[in-house]
Amino acid sequence: MARWLILFLLLPIAALAEEVVLGLSHDKVSITTRFEGSDILIFGAVKREVEIPDGPPLEVVITVAGPSEPVMVRRKGNRFGIWVNVDAVEIDAAPSFYAVASSGPLDEVLSDTEDLRNRISIGRSIRSVGAPDTVPDAASFTDAVIRIRQEQDLYQQLEGQVAVDQQTLFRTAISLPANLTEGDYSTRIFLTRDGTVVSQYETVIDVRKVGLERWLYTLSREMPLIYGLMSLAIAIAAGWGASTVFRILRNQ
């Protein structure tokens, strides 16, 4: 008991010994009409008041997470010869985008306890509390979310992709795909030694629609009737325009 107490008292001091000074190539991602995805360079340095401690080297884990939302996962099964949705599990919260980059294999640079506490690995970033009793293998539904989103590059596990120099400078690049949802993308940097988090830093990358995208999106939410009528007007004008142009072409 006493040992635990001492450990807890020591932790904040240890955390202060090494601090992150961070830079981002850009902290704002603007989704324009021609948005084709974006590469974000995350770099920084470790500020120390003391000498580099002995023992295992400093490792760095960087996560970028999009806004979390509940997801309904359905599984098909064969009933009477046709494939239909049989089971459904609602995942309470899954990030729309999640990238975890680390300076080495994730299970080596981060202990399971720390992973659990800070929800760092892809599996832990998804929160699923209760599945209905009718579904015995709820875990496979969470796996499905990870598998499907990994195929779409929405979930990325980038092991060994963080370069660390002299235990002081680190950098990595995260590529955000084109099919991005807007929102606050929380970016966390963890410094670890021997699997334990010694320091962490958090910032936000702002992903926003701008210009025409912003205007249309806002209009569709705030004045849906006007937006709907505008859609119809464009449709009818385009239909009429094409018809007229073709008639003129034919008469020539």
Partner: protein, 306 residues
Amino acid sequence: MLVYLPIAEVSVNAFLLLGMGALVGILSGMFGVGGGFLMTPLLFFIGIPPAVAVATEANQIVASSFSGVLAHFRRKTVDLKMGLVLLVGGLIGAALGVLVFNYLKSLGQVDLLVRLCYVVFLGVVGGLMFIESLNALRKARKPATGPGPRKQRTWVHALPFKMRFRTSGLYISVIPPVLVGIAVGILAAIMGVGGGFIMVPAMIYLLGMPTKVVVGTSLFQIIFVTAFTTLLHATTNYTVDIMLAVLLLVGGVIGAQIGTQIGTRLKAEQLRILLAGLVLVVCGKLALELLLQPVELYSLGAAGGH
């Protein structure tokens, strides 16, 4: 050239969308079908969220149908009176369809029912048209043995509330067209399409309308039903993506004009057999999806299902 769609929140190739619009537009102009039953699955395939695909498709159909119907108006192949009667039925049907849809939703498995609806209706309609057109073609190839028998009188002609439809050359009761309109409206609301592929054969075989006015009249009715649907989706689900719609309809309206030209050069039997073939292909593909084991058994959707 990639374009980011503000409502669908995905980036897609603009030329791909233009091409898809043009292809479906050509078919729309040729056959007088809105093309929703083709375009909606295509949009799913390129990764547009289903809710956005269905709603935006309705808006695109308005454009291609409007473009198509103008060409038919000039050629005087629109039976306005019949169109209005069908429209009355169509709006009643659409309202009923929404009720049925919500009821099915409360039972669950609405996806499956929609799919089964597609397979059954496309299969039956396509099959019947195919057989009938083949017979017609065979007859046409034989040397003419005098004019065929005049349309026989059926129960359709014995109903009250008769009305003269000059353009179609019909003098029939308004009850069958209203019923056809209602049926098509219900199906359109449930299946998320204009309903042309069901209305066209119904007009030809049930109402006995001449093929040349069927297409224009069907397009006329589809404009109003899909415009109504677009507004409904835009105000309740916020799923109409105007950027997607514009790209699709630019291709679509041009395609519809070309399609109408092709349509006038083909014989009615040829037109029908082509449409039947197309309907059967889509039906077959949907049926296969139900019968074969999918590669990915799991699918993700928005939680909370409204």
